[in-house]
């Protein structure tokens, strides 16, 4: 059942919530359970762990924050590492906002929409939104992402108290959910040669630049190089089949 243009907003919101609860929300929620345990390891209160999920809303940034404090990194180094790891949100948000644009949309609405941009909402949004009537997209997207965020906040809270009590294999499995789910979302959402190539090159270049480029610039360089190659090759294929 696809969202119709004449639905009331409540029904659209319910569709978004159901889509999130069908799997993605649980995925992110379980993925952020690990954050709770990392926050507890550095002696920060549970409120900070849960707030990090709501305010930062980016698994890798949260991992870097708590793991770096545990390792004794300088505050400036922590902020710079997080800024570089989060640079991906610039192209991601620029890519998804046009799908959510409505005439007369205010700056406040756009800032709220942008805050929800993280891997799940982004990958699922690019996949699902084009099939949804433009007037319904904003409500659907917010309902979908807010459901993911609520489940994740509960997961972070639970992880703060529970993760240390879990068997090692299970705790490791929870921490590995983020990379496994990121990759699955990317591949499931890829539509053409360009997307596939971008994924493959990103995977291949990251370990290489990790080795040869220091100072936290490695991810940006591998993303720019891999993405640009994928774009050029994909563009040529489309232009001259």
């Amino acid at each position: 059942m696809t969202v119709q243009a004449d639905w009331r907003w409540q029904r659209v919101a319910l569709a978004g919530m159901r889509a999130a609860l069908s799997f993605p929300a649980w995925m992110v929620g379980f993925g952020l359970v690990g954050i709770g345990s990392l926050a507890r390891d550095v002696g920060y209160p549970v409120e900070v762990a849960v707030l990090s999920t709501i305010l930062v809303w980016a698994g890798p940034s949260q991992v870097i924050f708590f793991a770096s404090i545990a390792a004794g990194a300088a505050w400036s180094a922590i902020a710079i590492a997080i800024a570089f790891a989060s640079l991906r949100f610039l192209p991601m948000t620029v890519a998804i906002l046009p799908l959510l644009r409505k005439p007369g949309q205010g700056l406040g609405t756009q800032l709220i929409l942008a805050h929800y941009v993280a891997v799940t909402g982004w990958a699922e949004g690019l996949r699902r939104l084009p099939a949804i009537p433009p007037v319904q997209r904003v409500v659907y997207f917010i309902a979908f992402c807010q459901t993911c965020m609520t489940v994740s906040a509960i997961g972070t809270f639970a992880g703060y108290y529970l993760l240390g009590a879990l068997p090692v294999a299970l705790a490791a499995g929870l921490l590995c959910l983020t990379p496994i789910f990121f990759l699955t979302s990317l591949v499931a959402g890829s539509r053409d040669l360009r997307d596939g190539l971008a994924i493959a090159l990103g995977l291949a270049f990251a370990p290489i630049s990790d080795r040869f480029i220091g100072g936290g610039f490695d991810l940006i360089v591998s993303g720019l190089v891999g993405g640009t190659i994928a774009f050029v090759v994909g563009h040529r294929r489309v232009a001259r089949p």
Partner: protein
């Protein structure tokens, strides 16, 4: 352990640290994107390029989390972490819609491997 900045230290320090050193460095890119996206045509080639860079960057984050694992994930040897990711990748490449199966199979491979090795 990183110590609080002395003149800002207090009971609210963890909240302040979260906002200054985690929230702002992440959120700034989302705000910047809002400022930029108003001037970009949705159907332009620039946006295609931007999407390709975002995709490659995310794939890079995946690779990095596998090479330099956080916390207790380090108990799994590199070959096992790469192998679990390979299982997931193989399944999602064969059945595009089987997201749940792919994730669970990768997780099962990883946790089964750790259990068998310990």
């Amino acid at each position: 352990m990183t110590q609080p900045i002395p003149w800002l230290d207090g009971p609210l320090w963890p909240y302040l640290a979260l906002i200054l050193f985690a929230f702002l460095p992440t959120e700034i890119w989302r705000w910047l994107a809002v400022a930029l996206s108003r001037r970009i045509d949705p159907d332009s080639a620039v946006l295609d390029w931007v999407r390709a860079v975002a995709t490659a960057l995310l794939a890079g984050v995946v690779a990095k989390l596998i090479i330099a694992p956080p916390g207790v994930l380090g108990v799994a040897p590199l070959w096992l972490r790469v192998g679990a990711l390979g299982v997931t990748l193989a399944i999602i490449l064969i059945w595009r819609r089987r997201i749940v199966v792919a994730v669970l199979a990768g997780e099962a491979a990883l946790m089964g491997g750790i259990w068998a090795l310990s």
